[in-house]
């Protein structure tokens, strides 16, 4: 669907278009009646974090795994074992994620096995035979990052978070629904008409000599006037508009930081700093009247073509970063528990693609497709691994869609299905799901079922 078609559909859905809008209109009216507060926090692991080394079977399938990547594989006795069995296997986690086990066992953390962008249900056989309908630009970082976040092609850069919020809130009355941390380039929270708030993980009360909390400060007033500059040149006009947005956001975020001090327990890593800020913002926004929010974080450098396990110096390997991630997630959940927001906030960990199970030269792996994601929060039905099977870890085996047998998994769960579960939880009517996630109409199962009530 191109941008115009989508906007038309939105207009129809909102009752503004012509034609038979009645069914849509009645369901969407419910959106404006959403009450309470809920927020989704999405962390995208940049570069394609290799799920093959995040969740590892510890039964007979371990031998397949270690045979397929003899120099990169985690040692079996190093894995952190999970109790119970999942998808027919006993499982271990990368030891860097050890601190997440209590959250998993408490039912606050779950795993989605073999997720990725799909046009429709697809098999490895179809891919190898060349008969599959594939998502565009597979294996490319920026396009796959955009696709798993709901991108609809070059005619419509918006993502599923932005579109869903605009559908739930057709009159744009929600306070600050779409936010990103340290990043202006997130597809997830990009809508078709909505402003994105870009927050820094290091909030500041001042810009130069301007005190943002003092409207009488002369510099604050002049910055305000600069932000209103008009120009017939679109480049200058866009500069001024961006400036205006930064200035307004900075004023509100300075206020948020003043009102909500940082909770204890967060570490110094970049992802801990980001989540510390998010934990303050959800508190601030809930108490100042926000209804629904989606936060987009993008972090890390997981494109481990070489040195996947890391070396003493650069480049950073996977395990050090997973350890930072785990520490940040544990601190975040603890902060939510402490502030009484843990039922209101759910968290998703995505990455753009998996990596070849077969090694790349230099102790790394190349770009692939299906991968494992994590979901966290009190609202999650955790302690589970979702999906119907764990991929066979045999190169050239039943699930390998790589023409040279290097180990690509064709996703069994579509990123759109994952989005649908979160959006339903946030309050998007089921009748509006396929408008926000067009490819979902190709799937019988519109839900994975990992959200509790």
């Amino acid at each position: 669907m191109d941008r115009r078609a989508f906007i038309n559909r939105l207009l129809v859905a909102g009752g503004l278009g012509t034609g038979s809008a009645i069914t849509f209109n009645s369901t969407l009216a419910a959106g404006t009646n959403l009450t309470g507060y809920k927020a989704l926090v999405s962390i995208h692991l940049n570069g394609g974090c290799d799920g093959n080394d995040v969740i590892v079977p510890t039964d007979s399938a371990y031998a397949d795994y270690s045979k397929s990547r003899p120099n990169v594989a985690l040692k079996k006795d190093a894995l952190t074992l999970l109790s119970g069995s999942f998808l027919g296997h006993t499982m271990g986690l990368n030891p860097a994620l050890k601190s997440l086990v209590p959250l998993f066992n408490a039912g606050k953390l779950g795993a989605l096995v073999n997720v990725g962008p799909l046009v429709k249900p697809t098999t490895a056989q179809e891919v190898l035979a060349g008969t599959a309908k594939l998502p565009p630009f597979l294996y490319s970082h920026p396009e796959q990052t955009a696709l798993v976040n709901g991108w609809m092609g070059d005619q419509d850069p918006s993502g599923w978070g932005g579109r869903a919020m605009e559908t739930m809130d057709p009159s744009s009355v929600f306070k600050s629904p779409l936010l990103s941390i340290n990043n202006n380039q997130s597809t997830l929270v990009l809508g078709q008409r909505s402003k994105i708030i870009t927050a820094s993980s290091y909030p500041s009360t001042n810009i130069g000599r301007a005190n943002l909390l003092d409207p009488k400060n002369q510099w604050t007033q002049i910055l305000d006037s600069l932000s209103r500059f008009q120009s017939p040149n679109q480049v200058s006009a866009e500069y001024a508009r961006t400036f205006k947005g930064i200035f307004a956001d900075a004023q509100e975020l300075a206020l948020a930081a003043q009102k909500v001090p940082e909770p204890s327990g967060f570490g110094a890593s970049s992802i801990s700093r980001q989540l510390a800020m998010v934990s303050r913002l959800v508190s601030y926004y809930k108490t100042t009247g926000a209804t629904r929010q989606i936060y987009s974080l993008q972090w890390g450098s997981f494109d481990t073509h070489t040195n996947q396990r890391g070396v003493s110096d650069l480049p950073l390997g996977q395990d050090t970063q997973l350890s930072d991630l785990a520490e940040a997630l544990v601190s975040f959940q603890a902060a939510l528990d402490q502030s009484g927001l843990s039922n209101d906030v759910a968290l998703l960990v995505t990455t753009e693609f998996g990596r070849t199970l077969g090694e790349a030269s230099g102790l790394g792996s190349d770009h692939a497709w299906g991968n494992h994601w994590l979901v966290m929060g009190n609202a999650i039905k955790g302690a589970q691994m979702y999906g119907s099977k764990f991929p066979s870890l045999v190169l050239g085996g039943a699930d390998d869609a790589h023409p040279q047998k290097r180990g690509y998994w064709v996703p069994q769960i579509s990123s759109d299905q994952v989005a649908a579960d979160f959006l339903t939880w946030l309050g998007l009517p089921s009748s509006a799901l396929t408008a926000v996630l067009p490819n979902l109409s190709n799937f019988t199962n519109k839900s994975i079922g990992f959200m509790g009530v």
Binding site: D154, N182, S200, I207, W219, S225, N233, F243, I246
Partner: protein
């Protein structure tokens, strides 16, 4: 300051007499006083005497690291064409790293910090004093879509040297040079790509980002689509795997006498490893077959030829260069005109660059009274800093207060792109914006803080150590508000500082800043001024 007042008088006269009057304009220009802002009547005329101060300054925002008093005068004296031709003839400034950048103890904080900070410090110094301004700007444009980073301290400066030496030669030579740069070999792992154990990283990105791009293009840069409107993809995963084979078998020109921190021998191109490391089977890439049993070098030559001759490459590369030098969202006609030069000149980048800068679309806004709606780009933080340094006549890099690294307060580290996608996405459009403006994605609170914080980050000592000449600014403070404003306008606003900024500066000088030192007045104000949209846009 008499001259400035005289110029102001002339400006008002110009307004009264109508600036379209050629005679008036020329007489102003010939009088050789500052601030003939309205002097450009026929925008693309290259008659030196007709080039106004505004037009020449604007041209230098595109073709150099920012105008200086001297460079504006030179462009006005010789005209655009002669200035470009002279620039094209200048030798490349190279980084010339001192020994401590090659050889240091990686786990020793002091020596490794000194080694790793060096590239950034040297980069800004080159922008301030290098004569090859146009070449450097083109090299920077190329770096933005062909970046390499990481590695040891020597990797970054060496990579920029590979670009500098080839940025005005042919695209074939450039592509071959960066492919064989050990820094790139390390960054995208092609030095590990062998016949038996492939590594697809470089093969994919050299197609996706450095040459043909992911979607098929017409000569004007527009996307070719199928019947359903979906873009036609340029290559498949099979092409990537075949290209990986063609690129296999390269390694560092290793020498056991080199220090460990220069194990890449980074200033010397990679060489073929043992022939057994190269996959010598036949390959079919982008529809062209490379025959079996070629050498490592022959396969590379064949592969580069396929890329350079692909119909996408001319519009793809032309658009990237236009976006970085002149305008973020060029018209299809502009891309098409430049791409045609790319094809006709056999990918001669010096001719391509000349065509970009002299194009009617590049020159259309040379007349400050007749601004066009779409032309321009937002300055990236590095260009903000270099323009600032050149406006202050600096001769070296301005170190931060604690002398740790001058990159503090810039907000963007040169030759250190965060990923292979560079600092920005060339297709970036802000939410609800209608205009593609990549550098807009770098505008955030920390960028505003960096600019407005100038008065806190700079000290007189550090500016003087960098050879910056702040004397005229301090003198202007003592003279009058109007003189200071005129000097700001001349150095940082092409002689046309907007009234709203003039009023703001006056208000601050008369109130909040009244009791501040002259130095603080200048740099607190300058921080504010470089945050404005007028300064922030090329």
């Amino acid at each position: 300051m008499k001259i400035i007042k005289y110029a102001t008088y002339l400006l008002s006269a110009c307004l009264l007499l109508s600036c379209g009057d050629q005679t008036t304009v020329n007489s102003v220009a010939k009088s050789d006083v500052f601030s003939n802002s309205d002097g450009q009547v026929t925008p693309i005329s290259d008659t030196p005497s007709s080039l106004g101060f505004y037009a020449a300054s604007r041209f230098l925002d595109q073709a150099s690291w920012g105008p200086t008093t001297q460079s504006v005068a030179e462009v006005r004296r010789v005209g655009y064409v002669a200035w470009i031709d002279k620039q094209l003839s200048l030798p490349a400034t190279l980084t010339n790293p001192p020994n401590y950048v090659f050889d240091y103890t990686a786990n020793d904080g002091v020596t490794s910090t000194r080694a790793n900070d060096w590239a950034t410090i040297r980069f800004f110094e080159m922008t301030a004093i290098g004569q090859d301004q146009l070449r450097q700007r083109v090299s920077w444009a190329i770096y933005n879509f062909m970046p390499a980073a990481q590695g040891n301290a020597i990797n970054r400066p060496s990579y920029f040297d590979f670009i500098q030496q080839n940025s005005l030669s042919t695209f074939d030579q450039l592509l071959k040079a960066i492919t064989l740069s050990p820094s790139m070999g390390f960054f995208l792992n092609n030095q590990e790509n062998t016949a038996n154990v492939p590594n697809e990283n470089f093969a994919r990105e050299v197609m996706q980002l450095f040459s043909v791009g992911m979607v098929q293009l017409n000569l004007d840069g527009s996307i070719k689509r199928d019947a359903n409107g979906a873009p036609l993809q340029t290559y498949t995963q099979t092409d990537v795997m075949e290209a990986t084979k063609a690129l296999s078998g390269w390694g560092y020109n290793y020498n056991k006498n080199l220090p460990k921190t220069n194990g890449c021998n980074c200033q010397v191109p990679m060489i073929p490893k043992d022939a057994s490391q190269h996959n010598s089977s036949a390959k079919k890439i982008l529809g062209t077959t490379i025959p079996a049993n070629q050498t490592t070098q022959q396969d590379l030559d064949s592969f580069i030829k396929i890329l350079v001759n692909h119909p996408n490459t001319a519009p793809f590369v032309s658009k990237r260069l236009i976006q970085n030098l002149v305008t973020s969202d060029p018209s299809p006609d502009y891309i098409s005109r430049v791409a045609k030069v790319f094809v006709d000149s056999k990918a001669d980048l010096s001719q391509v660059v000349k065509a970009i800068l002299l194009d009617t679309e590049a020159r259309a806004s040379d007349n400050p009274s007749a601004q066009t709606a779409r032309v321009g780009k937002i300055k990236e933080p590095i260009l903000v800093r270099t323009t600032l340094m050149r406006g202050l006549s600096c001769k070296a890099t301005i170190m931060s207060k604690n002398n740790s690294s001058q990159a503090d307060g810039v907000g963007q580290n040169p030759i250190d792109a965060p990923t292979v996608f560079g600092y920005v996405s060339p297709d970036y459009k802000a939410p609800v914006s209608l205009t593609n403006l990549p550098e807009q994605s770098l505008m955030n609170l920390s960028a505003l803080n960096n600019r407005n914080g100038l008065g806190y980050n700079f000290t007189l000592d550090n500016l003087q150590n960098a050879g910056c000449d702040v004397t005229p600014f301090l003198a202007a403070v003592q003279s009058s508000n109007a003189d200071l404003i005129q000097l700001f306008s001349e150095r940082f606003f092409r002689g046309r500082m907007p009234t709203a900024l003039v009023n703001g500066v006056n208000a601050l000088l008369n109130n909040d800043l009244a009791s501040e030192t002259a130095f603080n007045k200048v740099f607190y104000l300058l921080g504010l001024l470089i945050s404005s949209s007028t300064f922030g846009v090329v």
